[in-house]
Symmetry: C2
Subunit: 456 residues, 2 copies
């Protein structure tokens, strides 16, 4: 008998911090644990070597005419520090009330175990169920999945044989309301470096003669928005997909309250694109943000230098159908055109990721060539959620980014059904991460019904 | 017989780093050394206790009708680190060619010893010379002279009995050209802190909803200059003293070359107030500079946060007759007026210092009530420099700040004759500081002649 909570505890006990090489044993332990668990359920497990952490590719095959679902997850977790802020040891899972505490409990070990448990129940009830299931579980998600593109190219043919991807690595707005995430923003990141004089200068002996790179940087970056909050880069919005009326209507059902959101953020005024509520803006519109800035003296007291250098870290969140590389080039071109005399600029490229959108079936803008299995999965999920949670799911885009979802779509053509399971209060990436065990139980039942319905 | 180079070596051997309490013995050693040296020359020495490092107040008195000069200097030095960049031990003075290497060699032990040696020679030749001399030698100059205002108030009456201040703590443009510094810029410094949300936020989950404090900071600080380079703060230039034609003419004699200056700075274009050459701008005009900026993530790679906070360190260099506190209030008012919605700002006050100007005698704008002894000192200095160096001195304002000069003027009414002795290549505040011994020898002879002429 498969006990999902016990299995989850065992999973959390492996400290699988992918970004820290001192956790090599924990990574190895978590990977072996998952591989053995899927093997025990009758899967044929491949542990695919990468440059860093292996990817688990496990198949439960069958007739080529059967529906074929790829269930995605990741076995790596964020670092647990600062350790002193944890109330329980991060890698010693502890149940308090209806929550299990531990690093990775919600991201992604709990939600992944939810789907493994659903599969285990399904196969226990009917080992010959006419459904092909592939688990695709990586170990580099918390590092930006650097090995994933290469893996995708190698496994392209085998993945193309599937119908869609199913995953639980997005959020629920509350324990009562399921969201099937239908869109993710993309990313385009780079650093801007501005250099003035060849060294830091005494601001008395040389002040008044040359352009301070901090001033030049401020002039450049303050030009990148209009006073109304639009990104002030020619062509930036050119390929932004119009928001369909059903999407705005769906979002209204969420019943989000502006004052509560202001209180949560601790601000007294929003700064949102004209024509969009804050809840719409963060889902439907792109941004250009400054994630960091630095230059000159930053310590206590004063140091009267004119610094030689200053920099800003810039990131854009992108929406369909913006193309990250094109947007980077547009922003960089605007920066180049606005760089004043007397300073030099340099860009350091960082990573990028495509935005993603999937339209559920039976909408005005559902693509006519949508996979019938995907459409069945969405309908099955709608029914299962409605029955198990007592309330229909919402179909919403999310402001965050899961770049591998767009990568999978681009390389294999597969769309994703994203069944969110973690909650705002789960403290992802923070101390005292936890996962709600009631959500887990309902999640198992929901996923079991979705998969069972596909096999009918 | 007084050997100035041997005395300077002994002075440098005391590691008198005022800002570092581990150098307490060095501070004590340097202070006792100077006090004993002046005592041996017949001075009545008072060691004036302050909250930190004592001030040496040493008088060689005489008839109240005699001219009275106050010679200023400081016995403290900058920290010597990074030590690994020194070619010789910083506190073991080493003569190589015509230079003496060591921390404080040029700032200010060498120039101060130059003036002590001139006094020693003068008193040796005529112990009853009709001249009153007061040495005022502090130990906190490299920390911004925090105890000086309190001392000035206590010694106000005794200082007011003097005619002028004489010091060597400014620069020569080259070993061939003496400058008598006639003006210094003032300072007004503060930090600006901008706060948005109450914590750092995920730029995906919340991006597009609120104003990023880095963006707000960039908008604010980029508004503080016009595209032409003027400080864009109402009233900023209101009290700027007009530059007198003789000052521009004097500066032309310096023969400074724009291309060489660009090469020195490593820039390809100046950014100077309209109507001013770079050499004029840095002496005659105020500035508003950004000495540092910080906020958000500054490490390697990326972290997609919307930071809660950002800050800039702002400093103004001021010229006569700008008032530091008034300028601070004007700049802060402009910043308040330009702060966009959705962020809060806070100022952290830093220090300030008044600008200073003294007009030599026989100029169109010499004050009619100028002290006749000061006028005689300037004329004597002009003659002595011309004879000893073979070239007349230049009378120039400097871009840097020595706040105590304006403090002395304000409290006691005394003006200063600033006889520069250190050179650009002397590496002040840097590793391998040195002092040119030819300059020292000529300096002693010059100061000796100036003081002798006063006594005539």
């Amino acid at each position: 008998m498969f006990d999902p909570v016990e299995k989850l505890k065992e999973f959390i006990r492996h400290p699988s911090v992918s970004a820290d090489s001192t956790y090599r044993d924990g990574m190895q332990g978590a990977q072996v644990f998952v591989a053995n668990l899927l093997g025990s359920l009758g899967f044929i497990v491949e542990v695919v070597k990468t440059d860093l952490h292996p990817i688990i590719f496990a198949q439960h095959g069958g007739d080529a005419s059967w529906p074929h679902v790829v269930i995605y997850g990741h076995y790596d977790v964020q670092p647990a520090d600062p350790l002193n802020l944890w109330n329980t040891p991060p890698f010693d899972p502890t149940i308090i009330g209806n929550r299990i505490y531990g690093r990775g409990a919600a991201d992604n070990k709990g939600p992944l175990m939810t789907n493994i448990a659903a599969v285990a129940q399904l196969l226990e009830a009917n080992p010959k169920i006419p459904l092909r299931i592939t688990f695709l579980i990586e170990g580099e998600e918390e590092m930006g999945s650097p090995s994933f593109p290469k893996f995708l190219e190698s496994y392209k043919d085998r993945l193309q044989a599937a119908d869609f991807v199913y995953l639980s690595d997005t959020a629920l707005p509350s324990a009562d309301q399921v969201v099937l995430t239908c869109g993710l923003r993309g990313l385009a990141l780079f650093d801007l470096h501005v250099t003035g004089a060849k060294g830091d200068l005494h601001s008395g002996l040389h002040g008044g003669v040359l352009r301070n790179p901090i001033q030049a940087l401020a002039e450049i970056i303050s030009s990148l928005h209009t006073p109304e909050g639009l990104v002030n880069v020619p062509g930036f919005y050119e390929e932004v997909l119009d928001v369909h009326p059903w999407e705005r209507a769906e979002l209204k059902k969420l019943g989000a309250d502006e004052q509560s959101y202001k209180d949560f953020l601790g601000i007294d005024a929003f700064y949102t694109l004209p024509g969009f509520s804050p809840f719409e803006a963060l889902r439907f519109q792109p941004t250009l943000e400054f994630n960091g800035i630095g230059g000159g003296y930053q310590g206590e007291g004063t140091k009267t230098v004119i610094p030689s250098k200053a920099f800003a870290k810039i990131s854009c969140r992108l929406v369909p159908n913006q193309q990250p590389e094109k947007i980077k080039q547009l922003v960089m071109a605007a920066i180049r055109a606005r760089t004043p005399s007397g300073v030099k600029i340099e860009f350091v490229d960082q990573h990028k990721g495509d935005p993603y959108v999937v339209v559920p079936p039976d909408r005005a803008n559902t693509p006519p060539d949508q996979s019938p299995v995907l459409a069945r999965a969405f309908r099955a999920a709608d029914q299962a959620v409605t029955e198990v949670w007592g309330r229909a799911p919402l179909y919403l885009r999310e402001g965050g980014s899961v770049p591998i979802i767009a990568q999978i779509k681009q390389v294999t053509g597969l769309d994703s059904v994203m069944f969110g399971l973690f909650l705002p209060e789960d403290n992802l990436h923070a101390p005292n991460e936890s996962f709600n065990l009631d959500v887990m139980r309902k999640g198992i039942e929901t996923s079991r019904r979705v998969l069972a319905a596909l096999a009918e």
